[in-house]
Amino acid sequence: MQDLKAVGKRIPKIDAVDKATGRVEYIQDIKLAGMLHGKILYSKYPHARIVNIDTSKAKQLTGVRAILTGKDIPEIKFGVYKDNRPLKTGKVRSYRDEVAAVAAIDPEIAQEALSLIKVTYEALPGIFDPEAAMKEDAPLVHEEHKTNILKMPWKLHYGDVETAKKETAYMVENRFSTTWVTHCCLGTSGAIAQFDNTNNLTIYTNTQIPSLAQKDFLSALKAMGLRDKRVRVIKPCIGGGFGSKLDTYAYEYLSILLAFHTRKPVKIVFGREEEFFATSTRQPTIMDVAQGCDKNGKLLFRDISMVLDNGAYTSWGATTPSVMMMPITSLYRVPNVRYEAMCVYTNNTYSQAMRGYGNPQATFAIESSMDMLAETSGFDPMELRRINANQAGDVSPQDFQITTCGLDQCIDEVEKRLGKKTPKEKGVGVGFASLIHVGGGARVYKSDGCGTIIKMDDYGKINLFTGATDMGQGADNMVAQIVAEELGLDVADVHVIHSDTDVCPWDVGAHASRTTFVAGNSALGAAKKIKARIFDMASKQLEAPPEILVMANRMVMVKEDPKKRLEIGKLLRKFHFSTNGEMLMAEYFYDPENENLGRDFKGNTSMTYTFGTHGARVKVDEETGKVQILKYVAAHDIGRAINPILLEGQVYGGVMMGIGYALTEQIIHEKGEIMNPNFRDYKILTIKDVVPIEAPVFETFDKDGPYGAKGIGEPGCVPTAPAIANAIYDAIGVRIKDLPITPERVLTAIKAKKKLES
């Protein structure tokens, strides 16, 4: 193995010192000269006609600079389906619908102005249950759409499920459900928009997709009659992402519109309650799952259908079935697969991407069902998984090419660390679940690329401009470590700039755990170009062919004769300050050779796939229904650990988010209204809930990954819930099929079981 100096090292996050000293700027901390503050008035009804909006009183309030309603703004459409508008006209479809926006000289005045706006509504019957919303006579959320069922064809059938069902020796069939949970980024959402004199826009915004947001805002400007303008997206330090910032939102457009109307910078920042009710959630699901195996335990088929509550508008939540297809077709070897999902409009909040993007929901159903199949067929749950484990070289029914696969190792490791199931202590049990996730990009758009620019100064230091978005996960370190490694520099020599579309190249966004793989390869490509130029220059100076040169310790040297060497800064200055001088810069755009899914949803969407197995030992108190996790093991095949501290941080953070998903977190909706928009009633885990977590990793050195790495941003929270549900079953013999697994649900299940037994 190569002797690496930067890659694979536990190098602290490069912005950690600034964060530890309170010096980084989040959107909350940015103030521009003359800045106004915007606030949004939301609907009082889940579904209602807007009869009238009277802003006259609010307009008279001293300090108010602009008030906008739906009538005052052009037709800006946004969202995946373009079914959303920054301010609603005609009717509101959910409690989070924006009906008016105010800009004032301070937030308090803006808030007061909201209370002076009088909106007259005429209530309409609402629809809150997606299955009811599918009925013919259900009230329509979008009349022009004619039905509440979205016209998204999530439907595939590979092999022949009906025949397989006839041949199957054992089969299980069950319904599972998951509910709304939300990202709970500690830094709330916010944006500041500012126009220059010629109507070019600069917007500071919390986003995971600077380049795509730029495109969205450009179309908004077009709708506002501002053609051929420039949009600059500046991304301040982000207080957590987890998928919440993969779309553009009403508040961003409202800051733009208010800034345009007032000719002043306008800042809109959410309070916590607003963050809970006006940002999007993870997609809730109802999942019917059947799978079967032959008498040797080989999976024969999987047959899954789902109904997803889309809420009132369409963001990325509606496309989560495309990612659910991944575990459905490709977690374990399963030759015959059928899947259908329907997204349905309701008057609930609308959902978005959230860490795992549908995979946690689907894996909860599949892996719970795997344990049920194991019980029915008499196989040990781990044995059943081993029989069907994916292997390197496999091509899955969806045409995913499995290049490297450490699933077997992960299964063995987790089993070893958690011990065999017996002998049993009362109320204690162990459970397992595995995962597959994209680890080498995911071609959702035409491009899955990321650009990098490297600029070297006269002293051998680097400015690295990357399209990648850091939101705390460590994208900045990852590219810096890779470039430092490649060029024999210190990580501290690499200054990473990742925050500004005016200076950074394009990137499709921080989603699909793609940044390490794609931005890493992009940075590596740029570094290689720089290296080739340096070798070229040095070869003349050292009178040695480039092939025998290496870079290390900020030097370029002859490999076999390290005394023949040059300090890099010196070399650069020599070339800079000479006749026809030149400076060293390189750019590289990396777009992986993965494929878009075809009409049949087949296609190798990612260059490589990340695998993992999680296991939990739990203790269930049969009196209270409380589940205690005694030990948790999360093993992953990550290709290569670029930075073990950050890698462990992703796994720990993911697992704890997954445990919350499994046991405590839920947004409680009552007829479309969110009843628990605060940290008191929405139960995110605290430090007291930390469980002993072990996070072993297997390095399979993927041939296409930068230094062999695969993505690991999302997997930590993918198989957590089924591992815990399976452990609960092992402990007390009750199967919980709905998330979260609250003590009440456990108690109800225990009671039902006792009734059945007596």
């Binding site: 996050k13 950690a16 709970c184 988010m657 940290f679 930390v690």
Partner: protein, 171 residues
């Protein structure tokens, strides 16, 4: 209505006019421009706004501004020594992966400091107890506990604010 009060902020004596309804968080962020203290909820539920008043960790979003009269207030900005040397807790959070997005970090560090000032050898249980009001969505807390434990178990490292010394000199 406002009132003139004096207090010590990170070791420096201050006299400021404070309005009745201002929280300490508002005073620090909006009036004094100390942006290191964060607001995560504004209602005492997340701990992002934690600062230390007379040795006690408090949620500055709930703490009335007027109540700091004649008291010592320490914020995240007060932990680093003038030459840039990090407080041991800051260093430990940096080195042990206790920081991802960093939004919870100032509050976490201030809560941890209040704890270690009080009981320098705090156990894991005590750490969990003292930081129960500080929410972090990124780290899963594991490396935050490591960061604090590596100091509390060291036991010997003196945990104090270097800027604090200026104040003693002043007096």
């Amino acid at each position: 209505m406002g009132k003139m009060i004096s207090f010590a902020l990170n070791g420096n004596k201050m006299a400021v006019e404070v309005k009745d309804h201002w929280t300490l968080l508002h005073l620090l962020r909006e009036e004094l421009g100390l942006l290191g203290t964060k607001e995560g909820c504004g209602s005492g539920e997340c701990g992002a706004c934690t600062v230390i008043v007379d040795g006690m960790a408090v949620n500055s979003c709930l703490f009335p501004g007027l109540e700091i009269a004649e008291k010592d207030v320490v914020t995240i900005e007060g932990l680093t020594s003038p030459d840039g040397t990090l407080h041991p807790l800051q260093k430990s959070f940096v080195e042990n992966g206790g920081i991802q997005c960093g939004y919870c970090t100032p509050g976490m560090i201030m809560s941890a400091k209040a704890l270690l000032d009080e009981s320098p050898n705090a156990t894991e249980e005590e750490i969990k107890h003292s930081l129960a009001g500080n929410i972090c969505r990124c780290t899963g807390y594991v490396q935050i506990i490591d960061s604090i434990k590596s100091i509390s178990e060291g036991g010997v490292e003196e945990v104090h604010v270097v800027a604090w010394k200026n104040k003693e000199k002043d007096e």
